[in-house]
């Protein structure tokens, strides 16, 4: 090794970036109200088709939480009038098509990627799926049982458990956001085929459907296939449903979920954030990149690289139509749970109180600006980006403006966004960990009143004795 340590060598300087624009796309509309968005991309002989329906989990009727996700999965697994779920799967997979059907909070989507030579056959199959689902009872019962198995597994899965219970403690008890997207033991057990069929009939309607096609295909050909498959589908437009996004509490709270002998604590700290189409989306997004969104963010550098407390620590906002959670997530060795929480709190306080350094801002903006083309290498990523436009009603030039908007962020704008949208007084902390170790540490920390729960989220013991709050902030 003949390394010269005296003075660092000069870094290579980049040439001019080559121009890039988000794939051009075209919108068309069928007479029955179906919207078609086509992005022709001819790199490889592949096409992704995503069919969006206004049938996300926020549409679950009260007491039947989980119905949207069950309905979405059953579109494929429950078979169609012509063939059962097994045959249906085989018909797609013998074409080599990868297909999945799922619902998130805001929409349901059937997404398929196939070689372009098989597209016409796959398109006809998709029409059968969307227009004539059979929801066979046997498959309804099976998927309910699989959801119950998932919920059972969650009891010993600290990451999933922490996420799930964080939402429960964050939102108003009657908010849809307070209960899991896929429903819980109480709600799923009562769901039956008739309810799912009714949900389908109310929510899967041409007027609420968007077909997104990205890949090796022309807009005319995509329209021709769409008309053949969906042109005669009659029906109206579902009413838009929005979730209640009010917080459960405006005071801080600490929620310990007991997992005896856990070698690590899964830690979540946050509060209700802002909706996706909030005017402050850009400054909040860039602020979050500095705080905990990037590998070199303050929170990750502090907890991982300075202290070695964790394998990783990140913050983020879950972007939904209504305000999703803002949350800092990490897993730390049990005996430093308090120290890790203190560092997280101090980073949230700091970004609210002081301007970020110019090089912190420029790291975040030049990353978000530069990485933009890398986000859209695949047909499925392009289709997903177009789905964001549809779900959140963003303008067609959103992606063309994106990089300019990011470059326009200022230090003052970031400080203002942090000050306006981070709320240290109402932070909720969830810890899945060993209560014997964690409880005394968090008592000492004085973050807020502490409640102890079992792995189902049921409070342990009687009324919690009031804890002296010595504000760590």
């Amino acid at each position: 090794m003949s390394a010269s340590v005296s003075g660092k060598a000069a870094r290579p300087t980049p040439g001019a970036p080559r121009e890039y624009h988000f794939p051009r796309f075209e919108r068309r509309r069928l007479e029955n109200g179906i919207e078609l968005i086509v992005a022709p991309v001819t790199k490889l002989p592949l096409v992704t088709v995503a069919i969006l329906s206004d049938a996300g989990s926020v549409c679950d009727p009260a007491g039947r939480e989980g119905i949207a996700q069950l309905a979405a999965k059953l579109m494929l697994e429950g078979g169609t009038e012509k063939c059962d779920g097994t045959e249906l799967t085989e018909r797609f997979e013998r074409l080599g098509a990868s297909i999945e059907s799922q619902a998130d909070w805001d929409a349901a989507a059937i997404t398929m990627t196939a070689l372009s030579e098989h597209l016409a056959d796959s398109f006809d199959l998709l029409s059968e799926v969307l227009r004539t689902p059979a929801f066979r009872s046997r498959e309804v019962e099976r998927l309910k049982a699989e959801r119950m198995a998932e919920l059972l597994q969650l009891r010993t899965e600290p990451r999933g458990l922490a996420d799930e219970l964080f939402s429960r403690f964050l939102y108003n008890a009657s908010s849809r956001y307070a209960r899991p997207e896929g429903g819980d033991e109480q709600s799923v057990v009562g769901i039956d085929r008739d309810q799912i069929l009714a949900f389908y009939e109310n929510r899967y309607l041409p007027g609420g459907t968007t077909i997104i096609v990205a890949g090796d295909i022309s807009a005319d050909r995509a329209e021709e296939l769409s008309r053949r498959a969906f042109g005669s589908w009659a029906g109206g437009k579902p009413t838009r449903i929005l979730a209640d996004d009010h917080p459960a509490s405006h005071q801080r709270g600490v929620h310990i979920i007991a997992k005896g002998d856990a070698p690590q604590s899964e830690l979540r700290i946050g509060h209700v954030g802002i909706p996706r189409n909030h005017p402050d989306f850009f400054p909040v997004n860039v602020m979050n990149a500095v705080l905990g969104g990037l590998f070199n963010s303050r929170i990750n550098l502090n907890l991982r690289e300075v202290h070695g407390y964790t394998y990783g620590a990140f913050s983020g906002i879950q972007w939904r139509r209504q305000a999703g959670p803002f949350v800092v997530s990490t897993a730390v060795k049990s005996d430093i749970t308090d120290a890790a929480a203190r560092e997280i709190l101090s980073e949230i306080n700091r970004i609210r109180a002081e301007a970020v350094a110019p090089e912190e801002l420029s790291l975040a903006t030049s990353y978000l600006d530069g990485v933009f083309p890398i986000r859209f290498e695949t047909t499925s990523a392009i289709a997903a980006a177009l789905a964001v436009l549809v779900v959140h009603g963003l303008p067609d030039d959103y992606y063309d403006q994106y990089r300019t908007r990011v470059r326009g962020m200022t230090i003052e704008g970031i400080l203002e966004a942090a000050h306006r949208h981070l709320h240290t007084d109402s932070l909720q902390m969830v810890v899945v960990g060993d209560p014997g170790v964690v409880r005394p540490l968090l008592d000492q920390l004085g973050f807020g009143p502490i409640t102890l729960y079992d792995s189902s989220g049921a409070p342990l013991g009687s009324v919690n004795e009031p804890t002296t709050v010595r504000h760590a902030g």
Binding site: P14, G96, A97, E139, E146, A149, Q264, A331
Partner: protein
């Protein structure tokens, strides 16, 4: 479909593969070092992976954590990973930042040691211990990653020990170990560099010579012991693991032909027939029809030396006992050993594999990684263009031959997770009786 491939070597032994694609202003740089956990010496398990962390801690001209900072500031994505037979480092950047990525990789290949400190090692050791807790110790079934290879490979075999390493060994790792490992394995003649995407080949060639050309060749690495193994285990090896889990889960492994061999493709298709996607046999039979399992899948480790593993992974439905889960999975395997599988199942599997493969190649990073893979293991990156043909050449007869040869009772290893308080006595005894090291 075929991707263009160009290769050359530098005098210091660095093997380079290039694949141009100008559809977007993106370029991927991907470096494979032919060293993994298999190269670790006794008492230093987990070292290859700990070392991977150290490679992000700066080099002579790069400050600690600056590697991440420079790539992200350039608008790039990056990471590294450690496997049994190799360690890789990769970044995808805007194409005008190609030189930055090459310079960073060359700086740490040529000048890592001046930047190494005890404090950096101590911090990364803590990070890795937390990674171990996060991915294995505090995760239901998480220990399968080290228990399955331990069950399937003889104790002295290089694939036997834990990739993540034991806490004791991680604690014992010293700066001297870092220096020695670096000098032995992180040399240009033990590395493959691949570039895929939007670049000019002449310019790339010039930049590679400029940044990597002066790095000296290594002194050679100690040879791995003979890694060949008999084609079958010779018995049904069993281990029962009581864990903090709610549902039993079975990993059923079969010794299978090494990655890249002709017979590997039959094994890989067999894995897809059994457990790739919803139309696979185990999903259809155990999840959908008989409702024994909440989930079922199958995969291969893709080990290129000695012998590979084909693994079936099935989780019980609530109410299905661990014994029943194992019996029912075994029954499905016994059925195909007796009756074989159908041609239509092979067609489905190959069609699904082909679409996934083409889909993956949309990303520059994936192209570069696959080029590095075939270049590292076989010095033949052009094999990436043979993948689809090799899968399409697999017939139902090939798969059924593989099934008869390798899926019998004399070639099974089962790792069965059971709820801690519900370990059935006979299973615990069975496990003790065939106690594996």
């Amino acid at each position: 479909m075929r991707i263009p491939i160009d290769t050359f070597s530098l005098p210091n032994g660095l093997f380079v593969t290039l694949s141009e694609d100008h559809t977007a202003p993106i370029v991927a740089v991907n470096l494979w070092y032919h060293v993994g956990s298999a190269n670790e010496r006794p008492g230093r398990t987990g070292f290859a992976h700990l070392f991977e962390h150290m490679l992000f801690q700066g080099s002579a001209d790069v400050e600690a954590n600056e590697h991440f900072e420079l790539v992200q500031r350039a608008g790039g994505t990056l990471n590294g990973s450690t496997w049994l037979e190799r360690t890789n480092y990769f970044e995808t950047v805007p194409s005008n930042q190609l030189e930055l990525a090459l310079w960073l990789e060359a700086n740490r290949m040529g000048k890592l040691l001046p930047a190494m400190t005890q404090q950096k090692l101590d911090t990364q050791r803590d990070v890795v211990m937390n990674e171990r807790r996060w991915s294995m110790d505090n995760q239901p079934y998480g220990t399968w990653m080290e228990k399955l290879p331990a069950l399937c490979f003889p104790v002295e075999h290089p694939f036997n020990h834990s990739l993540m390493g034991s806490m004791d060994d991680l604690t014992a790792a010293s700066l001297d170990d870092v220096a020695q490992f670096f000098a032995t394995y992180y040399t240009p003649d033990n590395a493959v560099l691949s570039i895929a995407g939007d670049f000019d080949p002449g310019e790339a060639h010039r930049l590679i010579e400029k940044h990597f050309g002066d790095i000296p060749r290594g002194a050679g690495k100690p040879p791995l012991p003979d890694m060949s193994l008999p084609p079958v285990f010779g018995q049904w090896k069993r281990e029962v693991v009581p864990d903090d889990v709610m549902l039993p889960r079975l990993f059923l492994a079969f010794r299978s032909p090494a990655f890249g061999t002709e017979k590997y493709y039959a094994a890989s298709v067999c894995g897809a027939v059994l457990g790739l996607r919803n139309g696979s046999r185990l999903r259809r039979r155990l999840v959908r029809e008989r409702q024994i399992a909440a989930d079922a899948s199958a995969f291969t480790y893709d080990l290129a030396k000695g012998s590979d593993l084909l693994v079936v992974d099935a989780t019980a439905r609530p109410g299905v006992s661990a014994e029943r889960l194992e019996q029912e999975v075994a029954h499905e395997i016994d059925t195909i050993v007796r009756d074989g599988i159908e041609a239509a199942e092979v067609e489905r599997a190959v069609a699904v594999i082909q679409t996934s493969f083409v889909s993956a190649l949309q990303e520059a990073g994936e192209r570069a990684d696959r080029l590095s893979l075939f270049a590292t293991y076989f010095r033949a990156p052009e094999l990436v263009n043979e993948e689809v043909n090799r899968y399409q050449a697999v017939t139902v007869e090939h798969v059924n031959d593989f099934i008869r040869e390798r899926l019998g009772e004399n070639n099974r290893a089962s790792l069965l997770y059971v709820a801690r308080e519900e370990t059935p006595v006979e299973l615990a005894n069975a496990s003790a009786a065939v106690a594996t090291p």
